[in-house]
């Protein structure tokens, strides 16, 4: 098998923008290889085609996915999300996470949760949780503990301000190394944020001015490059005479 020419024909769409219907991989040319498909790709008999428009990415050796940014969220396992409680049933809280279905948060899925100390969340409570069951068809299930059962910052988020963004901006804020806008703001203001991969961001700081400043800076940074983000953040800080 001539691996070199095989690789050339198959990866010439990587890092290019693809639209639904484009064929990105021909499986008949790749024998005995395992390929991992992420979001936006599906298998159609002998080839892999695109479901959503976006940039095709490859993480060597074999992970392919389409990077796109939407206003809605598709639930995935082990994602951390910010949900809003909609209803309290006997066994579960129903939580809205901007997905096609409402998510269930079992009342016992908290650190040290027993039938006696069920938390009292009213409708509208903001929760930081982790997706533990994400079968595409059924309602996703959340949990407010990490894998070892500890609370680890999950749970209700009090005070602060929550705003909605696209999923692409949420991913950028969570990327490592630290996103430039958060770094630039962190040098002058102390604040805390929680970013949900479902496109919700919560910001809390000691004064309302700081909260508004941080939220505006984050919302404006979506389409800016690293240096542009730093410049924008510094301009905002100057306006409020923090520097």
């Amino acid at each position: 098998m001539d691996v070199d020419t095989g690789n050339m024909t198959q990866t010439n769409l990587v890092d290019k923008v693809v639209v639904p219907g484009d064929v990105v991989l021909d499986l008949t040319k790749m024998e005995n290889q395992t390929i991992k498909l992420g979001s936006g790709l599906r298998q159609d008999c002998d080839y892999i085609s695109v479901m959503q428009a976006g940039k095709l990415r490859l993480s060597k050796p074999n992970k392919y996915w389409v990077e796109s940014s939407q206003k809605r969220y598709v639930h995935r396992l082990e994602d951390t999300v910010l949900g809003i409680v909609v209803e309290h049933r006997s066994d579960n809280f129903l939580v809205d996470i901007k997905a096609p279905n409402l998510a269930f948060l079992p009342v016992l899925a908290f650190e040290g949760g027993t039938r006696r100390n069920i938390p009292k969340f009213e409708t509208g409570t903001l929760i930081y949780a982790r997706v533990v069951k994400a079968n595409g068809i059924m309602n996703p299930e959340l949990s407010c503990t990490d894998a070892s059962g500890k609370a680890a910052e999950f749970g209700q988020l009090k005070n602060g301000y929550m705003f909605e963004t696209s999923t692409g901006l949420a991913r950028m804020l969570l990327s490592s190394p630290t996103c430039p806008v958060l770094e630039a703001l962190g040098k002058k203001i102390s604040f805390e944020t929680a970013v949900g991969l479902n496109g919700r961001v919560w910001v809390n700081a000691s004064s309302p001015d700081d909260v508004i400043l941080v939220s505006n800076a984050i919302m404006r940074s979506e389409f800016l490059s690293g240096t542009q983000q730093r410049i924008m953040a510094e301009k905002l800080l100057e306006r409020l005479q923090k520097s």
């Binding site: 024909t9 923008v17 693809v18 639209v19 959503q52 976006g54 796109s68 598709v74 389409f223």
Partner: protein, 242 residues
């Protein structure tokens, strides 16, 4: 060859325009213009639950057509039904079963070829909302003149004068890594047809001529759609990735 009122030749399309993500609250939106025919499409969804009578194992679509003026009547209901069937056939309905996606179409300007413009706008809006799709749809109107020649992208006055015309919807031409040798065994995907709505009486040969011309022109629209999707998407991605 007769001259067309706006000076185009038989195969020329009106200037196309497409902008996406224009509405703040909609999950996906697009505005598509072909000359003076302008349509705004908004997509909300997928939302949980299906309507009564719809199959809960598939995602269902709901289309609402809003005319520029006047009350909603039979013509709007017909457009809604055609649009719903077209969108159902291009979207993957098994990815999010038991959900409803709403598409709302608002007519901003009507100068002929309204249904093709609406289909193009809805397809762009669905891509903007990230609804999983098999491929894109491009739509065009073709008219049959008396002497048998075909004209493309009809204006309202041409539609009224012509004896017969058709609205055609084709799949777009995909980019593919499959070798040409491999795929020449089957017909390329853009030779299929998704929807065809015809008005008036035309001979069979005339209809097939319309199909051919329409298919050839749909390659141009497909290329335009791809470029407009790439332009917006690469601007966002290149800025956000840095």
């Amino acid at each position: 060859m007769e001259d067309r009122t706006d000076g185009r030749n038989a195969n020329q399309l009106r200037p196309l325009g497409c902008s996406r993500t224009i509405l703040n609250r909609a999950h996906g939106s697009a505005r598509w213009s072909q000359g003076n025919t302008i349509v705004l499409a908004a997509v909300y969804g997928p939302k949980a639950g299906t309507k009564k009578g719809e199959n809960p194992e598939k995602a269902s679509f709901e289309v609402i057509w809003k005319p520029k003026t006047g009350q909603i009547g039979k013509q709007e209901r017909e457009y809604e039904m055609i649009l719903k069937r077209t969108l159902q056939s291009i979207c993957l309905v098994n990815v999010h079963p038991n959900t409803t996606t709403s598409v709302i179409v608002q007519v901003v300007g009507d100068d002929g070829s309204l249904l093709p413009c609406a289909i193009n706008a809805s397809c762009a809006a669905l891509v903007d909302a990230g609804i999983p799709m098999k491929h894109l749809a491009v739509s065009i109107s073709c008219g049959l003149m008396e002497e048998g020649s075909i004209i493309l992208d009809l204006t309202k006055s041409e539609e009224e004068k012509l004896k017969a015309f058709a609205y055609l919807v084709f799949p777009n031409s995909p980019l593919s890594v499959i070798d040409k040798v491999h795929s020449s065994k089957e017909e390329p995907i853009e030779h299929g047809i998704i929807t065809s709505v015809s008005y008036g009486a035309m001979p069979v040969s005339g209809y097939f001529d319309c199909l051919e011309r329409g298919r050839a022109a749909s390659a141009a629209i497909s290329e335009f759609l791809r470029r407009s999707l790439q332009k917006q998407s690469s601007e966002d991605a290149s800025r956000a990735a840095q």
